[in-house]
């Protein structure tokens, strides 16, 4: 039986950082990744099979066969595969989502950590403050910004001062210039969107080549900074890290309330490795499921509950002249005017322009109500408006609902015979209200930028998880109402830690990846310091 100091489960934003911190501290680390180590050459850039639009498959794992989930919607349940709606897939690959993300590198707002004390707790929600504050996380944000690599500008006026980023921001696009002028008219402050993307040669890798694909795809110049090309290679270089790919953690073994190792499937066989510390970073759905399968972390009744992600507010417009410059990544300007302090709603969120729109996404998802789904009218709409299209969108700080949850399905099993994740419940109604509020602000921004025609979709209540999934192992000081403590340690189990979005009590009004990285730096530095 192999013996390690620590076993880290999952190699994404949280797990990659955890493996790095532990290996650098001299610990012998085993990193288990369910997916493969993919390269750009493996990437067919399939517009129908990627993490932006997964109509018939994905460009990463998990494989379509053998990894189902059960999705419950309006009282109806169905078995879903990784590319289908309701599955809420996270990329299985070395780097996980950080291999294919857009890499928006936001710090959460200080009030994002204090939602309950700022706004009160609405009925039916499990809204709480984080047990830690922005200031506790600030040094780890800084570490993530420099060690993974962020490009951006000065902080928004709504944010505390911070050290500069290592790289300058991506250039303002043509759409960004118009939105900047529109924001000036409204009296709104704007700033570049910080991105985990090289805008200069750094760390032995090239700068962004401004391609049109970016989010959902691998990077053609390896300029996108994920864990797969930053901290994981550095961890491997220490000689202390063993990375196993296509290795699925099946169960955390424990005895008398203490974890003793991990049983995993690799190269056709079940194996068990022992360790002193387990770090779970398999994503909010799978981390909760693995803990349930291991009979750990269930004491509070909160394990698997409060599943959240991000509703997206947003509006769409058509300008009178073409505004498409095709300069990727395409997201270049943002405002934090509506992150907090919004009359009549709870919380808020950041608003920004978006990544370069792919033709197929536009054809499928952005028709105004008067344009038919077919015929010459649809074709002419595509032809006449694609280059004039403009949008503003952003992630809404969700109000957690304990009934939105992950449980083990009683009937359906995966390729290893284990119960699969069953996802049920919907986002809290207050999340919908805040989304509608922010959508109106997005529409105002577009009109101020010169768009005469503005439209948007409406949002009902649905289960939110997706690529920003969080909340299922919420962090808190009280073991009766949380799953991990402020150190990321499972209440009641001294040597199991969770280091992914699962621990977020609330998920911020921003893309959460920099927070996941910063939290993992904090949690695993804490492990090293206590060891």
């Amino acid at each position: 039986m192999s013996r390690y100091d620590a076993i880290v489960i999952g190699s994404g934003a949280g797990g990659g950082v955890a493996a790095y911190v532990l290996a650098q501290a001299g610990k012998k680390v085993l990193l288990l990744e369910q997916g493969k180590w993919l390269t750009f050459e493996d990437e067919p850039r399939d517009h129908l099979r990627n993490h932006r639009l997964s109509r018939y498959g994905h460009n990463t794992g998990p494989d379509l066969d053998g990894h189902p989930r059960v999705f419950v919607e309006n009282g109806q349940e169905r078995t879903v595969q990784p590319h289908q709606g309701g599955y809420n897939a996270i990329a299985a690959a070395v780097g996980s989502g950080t291999l294919v993300y857009g890499g928006q590198a936001w710090r959460f707002h200080p009030l994002d950590f204090k939602m309950a004390s700022t706004y009160g707790v609405p009925a039916g929600s499990s809204l709480v403050d984080w047990p830690i504050e922005y200031e506790d996380l600030a040094p780890f944000y800084h570490r993530a910004e420099w060690e993974i690599g962020v490009a951006g500008g000065d902080p928004a006026p709504q944010m505390p001062a911070r050290p500069t980023y290592p790289m300058h921001a991506v250039p303002l696009t043509e759409k960004g210039r118009l939105l900047h002028a529109g924001a000036e008219k409204m009296g709104w402050k704007t700033q570049p969107v910080p991105l985990l993307i090289n805008t200069a040669f750094r760390d032995g890798r090239r700068a962004c080549v401004a391609c049109q694909h970016c989010v959902g795809f691998q990077c053609p110049s390896n300029a996108k900074n994920g864990t797969q090309n930053t901290v994981i290679p550095k961890a491997l270089a220490t000689g202390n890290l063993t990375l196993l790919t296509e290795a699925t953690a099946l169960k955390i073994e424990s005895q008398d309330g203490v974890a003793t190792g991990v049983t995993y499937f690799h190269e056709g066989a079940e194996k068990t490795a022992t360790c002193e510390v387990v770090v779970v970073a398999a994503s909010a759905v799978e981390s909760a499921r693995l803990l349930m399968l291991s009979d750990l972390g269930g004491g509070s009744g909160h394990l698997g509950r409060n599943l959240q992600g991000h509703y997206y507010a947003g509006a769409w417009g058509v300008m009178s002249d073409p505004v498409w410059d095709g300069v990727g990544p395409g997201v270049s300007i943002s405002t934090l005017e509506f992150s907090h302090g919004n009359e009549g709603v709870i919380g808020g969120g950041m608003l920004a322009d978006d990544f370069v729109m792919l033709p197929l996404s536009y054809a499928k998802g952005y028709r105004p109500p008067e344009v038919p789904q077919w015929g010459l009218a649809h074709k002419h709409w595509m032809r006449d408006t694609y280059r004039r299209f403009i949008q503003v969108t952003g992630p809404v700080h969700e109000i957690p609902n304990p009934e939105a949850r992950v449980t083990l399905d009683p009937n359906v099993t995966d390729m290893f015979g284990r119960p699969v994740a069953r996802l049920s419940g919907v986002a809290h109604a207050e999340t919908v209200r805040t989304t509608r509020f922010l959508t109106q602000r997005a529409a105002e921004w577009l009109r101020a930028a010169g768009s005469e025609q503005v439209w948007h979709r409406d949002h009902g209540q649905f289960l939110s998880g997706g690529q920003h999934q969080a909340g299922t192992c919420r962090m808190g000081d009280d073991p009766k109402s949380s799953v991990v403590d402020r150190d990321g340690r499972l209440h009641g189990t001294p040597n199991v830690f969770v280091a992914d979005g699962s621990v977020h009590p609330t998920n911020g009004g921003f893309n959460p990846v920099l927070t996941i990285m910063a939290m993992s730096f904090r949690t695993t530095e804490g492990i090293v310091n206590m060891w």
Partner: protein
């Protein structure tokens, strides 16, 4: 072949009304038939398509044609508008509006997808709308 010649000719006529020819090609001229055969098989929707295509032909016969593909284009369009709203006169063995929406969705997927999907030769659909890949 999943569909016989008659079914293929109905399918071709259908998708060429979903994306008709103008100064850029129609759906069938850019490989969308082959694309549909692949995705219909992948999603195991062969029966739904077969029944939908048969429904279109029955509808066309009631409208005075031999088959859907033989109707004048204007009549094809008005027939499809009715089917889209679920306002059908003939017997259908699959839900007509759902079939039409699916076929429209999948034809459009094929037309605007990347050339790696065996469609959009030379990126002609992207040229039409002004999408360019630089890197």
């Amino acid at each position: 072949m999943v569909f016989d010649e008659a079914e293929l000719s109905t399918l071709r006529a259908l998708i060429d009304r979903i994306i008709p020819e103008d100064d850029f090609p129609s759906a069938s001229a850019t490989g969308v038939i082959g694309f549909l055969l692949g995705v219909v098989a992948f999603e195991e929707r062969t029966d739904q398509y077969r029944l939908g295509l048969a429904g279109l032909n029955r509808e066309a016969r009631l409208a005075g044609g031999g088959s859907f593909s033989e109707l004048p284009i204007a009549d094809q369009d008005s027939l499809l508008s009715r089917v889209e709203q679920g306002e059908v006169s003939a017997e259908w063995e699959t839900e007509p509006a759902a079939f039409f929406r699916l076929a429209a969705e999948q034809a459009i997927e094929g037309y605007y997808a990347d050339p790696g999907n065996g469609v959009n030769p030379g990126g002609i659909a992207w040229e039409m709308i002004g999408f360019r890949v630089t890197a």
